[in-house]
């Protein structure tokens, strides 16, 4: 079971993830796979009700969704393993290059030790399965540092350390 963490708290996830060839119910908020989106683009973009999100596997590129970013309320990025860092750059691109303002969520092997990095790359929602991570987030025990040597994709960090590239949370 996984839980949605956003805006500093766990909350119920209103989004329905459509696996494989399931029907897409009218009126529901759904996150579809990139394949499903590409196959049924027109139908999905012209649905009458219900919001739309898209999920990218780690190996899938942003290119296909970039022209439609304004149609997505959620972009969900897969972290298949702790060591696979591709989605960090994708989140960064969504925010910096494309000015994407919707939700960017991390899905998969989401662990407390990466949460700070995720946030700083512009990820603002986590779908967490890992129990210790759930505990740490509940206790607000984020082991991330508060001082940074590089600007990030998020607001709210201030310049620090007397040089252009340093920041404080």
């Amino acid at each position: 079971m996984s839980y949605l963490y956003k805006d500093g708290a766990f909350q119920s996830d209103k989004w329905l993830t459509i696996d494989g060839d399931q029907p897409v119910p009218e009126g529901e908020d759904v996150i579809v796979s990139l394949t499903l989106f590409e196959e049924h683009q027109h139908a999905l973009l012209t649905r009458n009700s219900g919001r739309l999100g898209v999920h990218l596997e780690a190996a899938e590129q942003l290119d296909a969704i970039v022209p439609h970013l304004d149609k997505f309320d959620v972009v969900s990025l897969d972290f298949p393993t702790f060591a696979d860092g591709r989605a960090f750059s994708k989140a960064r691109w969504l925010r910096d290059q494309h000015g994407y303002a919707g939700e960017v969520r991390a899905v998969g092997d989401v662990r407390i030790d990466q949460v700070s990095h995720m946030k700083r790359c512009g990820i603002d929602a986590l779908l967490v399965t890992h129990q210790q991570t759930i505990d740490s987030l509940t206790d607000i025990k984020d082991p991330g540092l508060q001082l940074y040597y590089q600007p990030s994709a998020i607001d709210g960090e201030t310049k620090a350390g007397g040089r252009a590239w340093a920041r404080r949370a």
Binding site: A58, R86, S89, D113, R120, C121, Y149, A160, G162
Partner: protein, 554 residues
């Protein structure tokens, strides 16, 4: 040299606290080894054959005496009284207890050192020319850029989980002493036609299983764009580098498979997008980092030292040491001293705690409190008055560190190999020792002249064998150690990868094979000053093959 300010200090101490917590969670079982692994790696902690190993960064190889003494203290207190200087300007401690490591890191933090990102698939310790700020051929000191890159890459949120490790080297002189073209990114400082500083950028160099010489991707990136350009390369790599096979995950494979032109297009596009953004370096900020590396207060001295001349006149060993181990300094009346950690019978790069203390004292007394670690695993006293050379030499002799062999055949680079390394397929230290003994005669070494011999205990090539004039790679063939020889490699500005000469040699044969190679060179060279590498480039591999394996059937 660079000094931490409040910000840096707080960063490093909170990082130590963070790791202490993580170690506690590992010890309590909350973190499994699997989940702890990427965390410990980013803090320089490896699990080796016998124990944990801690790798401490010596950023761009520069340290002061206080820091050197702390390394001695750590060796004494938490290890078996010695440390091992690596080919990447790091020092490794081979026997710390995991539960001691947070304390070690705290000790290090107290002297402005750390072990951050000395391992793991992230941007590693940034290296630089070990003669930076001292050598006579320098355009500019590369360390300010290296320091800026060190800061920017520290705990970078986007690049902490790259496809594979990522190494950056910076040089500031046309002569490459840092094997810059064998790094994922190599930066060579240059001035453009207008006289402004910037860097030429090479990407995709590396050793290991698939050695490649770095390719020039941009011949001038302006100083203000340094971070933007490097970030653009990293982003393209992070998204596109292969993750399906760890042996194909380095950026060199991406360059090779994608093609330099196409990759350059992606890098340039990303660079254009971000170059006017937050990473643009303000001139004032670069200058203030640069100020930390201002030259020490040199005395105005003549470039001839009568004290030195007199000492040389009546001490042949001293003369020999000066000729090999002292290099030209940009300031007249000064020299750069290389202390070779390669005395006969010793493991290359190993230094005992008491040797470190001696080096610290010499740095303090004779070199403006500065020391360097070279990628050739030697220690450098960068700013020594020519008048003081004899005193320094005598001190080194008294402490067994006066090997007059810098750049000679016994100044061997060797990785830890099977004696310490979990990945090794063969021993390398005993081979280095054997060759060291075979060529111990100094007259003979000097007759042979410049010759870089490098040994790796497995295909990962930590001993840089591909760029040895003579390279030795230990492999395992059906349970037996076998040594493969390459010739003609070079890690300097005329970068080249050595070619395999033929079938490998057993442990009993290998030092004899090296001798045969050397004898062949001596017989074939045109004059005393035609170096091994020059001769090899002129005559090719054939005469060496014939000497080693007998005449080839036509």
């Amino acid at each position: 040299m660079y000094r931490y300010d409040e910000f840096d200090r707080e960063f490093v101490t909170s990082r130590v606290a963070q790791f202490r917590d993580q170690v506690e969670r590992r010890v309590s079982g909350e973190l499994s080894e699997d989940n702890f692994k990427p965390i410990r790696l980013q803090n320089g902690v490896y699990l080796q054959l016998h124990a944990y190993m801690l790798r401490v960064a010596i950023p761009y190889g520069t340290l002061n005496s206080r820091q050197m003494r702390m390394l001695a203290h750590i060796a004494r207190t938490y290890d078996r009284d010695y440390g091992h200087f690596t080919t990447r300007q790091n020092i490794q401690f081979n026997w710390p207890k995991l539960t001691d490591i947070p304390d070690i890191l705290e000790d290090l933090a107290s002297v402005e050192m750390h072990a951050i990102q000395t391992s793991g698939n992230c941007i590693r310790n940034v290296t630089a020319d070990h003669f930076a700020g001292a050598s006579s051929d320098e355009i500019a000191d590369p360390r300010p850029y290296a320091e800026i890159l060190r800061q920017w890459s520290s705990n970078h949120p986007e690049f902490a989980f790259l496809p594979r490790k990522f190494k950056i080297a910076v040089i500031g002189a046309p002569h490459d002493r840092a094997a810059m073209q064998f790094h994922d990114i190599g930066l060579e400082m240059r001035r453009n036609a207008a006289g402004n500083l910037g860097v030429a950028v090479y990407i995709g160099g590396g050793l290991g299983r698939t050695p490649m010489v770095g390719k020039l991707v941009n011949d001038f990136v302006a100083e203000e764009d340094l971070l933007s350009y490097v970030e653009a390369i990293l982003r393209v790599y992070n998204m596109n580098g292969r993750r399906d096979n760890k042996y194909k995950a380095r950026i060199k494979i991406l360059v090779h498979e994608t093609g330099l032109d196409e990759l350059k297009q992606s890098i340039d596009a990303e660079f254009e997008r971000i170059r006017d953004g937050v990473l643009k370096l303000p001139d004032a900020d670069v200058r203030s980092i640069e100020a930390y590396f201002a030259a020490p207060k040199f005395e105005l001295l003549s470039d001839r030292s009568s004290l030195l001349e007199a000492a040389k006149a009546d001490d042949k060993s001293f003369t020999r040491w000066v000729d090999r181990n002292v290099s030209a300094h940009k300031q007249s009346g000064y020299g750069i001293v290389t202390v070779a950690l390669k005395s006969t019978g010793e493991a290359p790069g190993d230094a005992s705690a008491s040797q470190m203390d001696v080096l610290a004292r010499l740095g303090e007394q004779y070199s403006f409190d500065e020391l360097r670690i070279s990628h050739e695993q030697n220690v450098i006293l960068p700013h020594v008055r020519l008048d003081d050379l004899k005193a320094v030499y005598d001190d080194l002799v008294a402490n067994g560190m006066a090997a007059p062999n810098a750049g000679l055949i016994t100044d061997i680079i060797a990785c830890p190999g099977l004696d310490y390394c979990a990945l090794a397929t063969a021993r390398s230290i005993p081979v280095a020792q054997e060759i060291g003994e075979r060529f111990a005669d100094l007259d003979r070494q000097n007759e042979i002249g410049d010759l870089k011999l490098k040994i790796s205990g497995c295909i990962n090539a930590c001993g840089h064998h591909h760029v040895g004039h003579i390279g030795i790679l230990g492999v395992d063939r059906r349970g037996e150690e076998l040594y493969q020889v390459t010739l003609g490699g070079s890690g300097d500005e005329h970068a080249a990868i050595g070619e395999i000469v033929g079938r490998g040699f057993s442990k009993d044969e290998i030092s004899g094979a090296v001798e045969t190679i050397v004898d062949t060179y001596l017989a074939k060279r045109l004059a005393d000053d035609e170096s091994f590498l020059d001769a090899y480039r002129r005559i090719g591999a054939a005469p060496f093959k014939e000497a080693l394996y007998g005449p080839v059937a036509a």
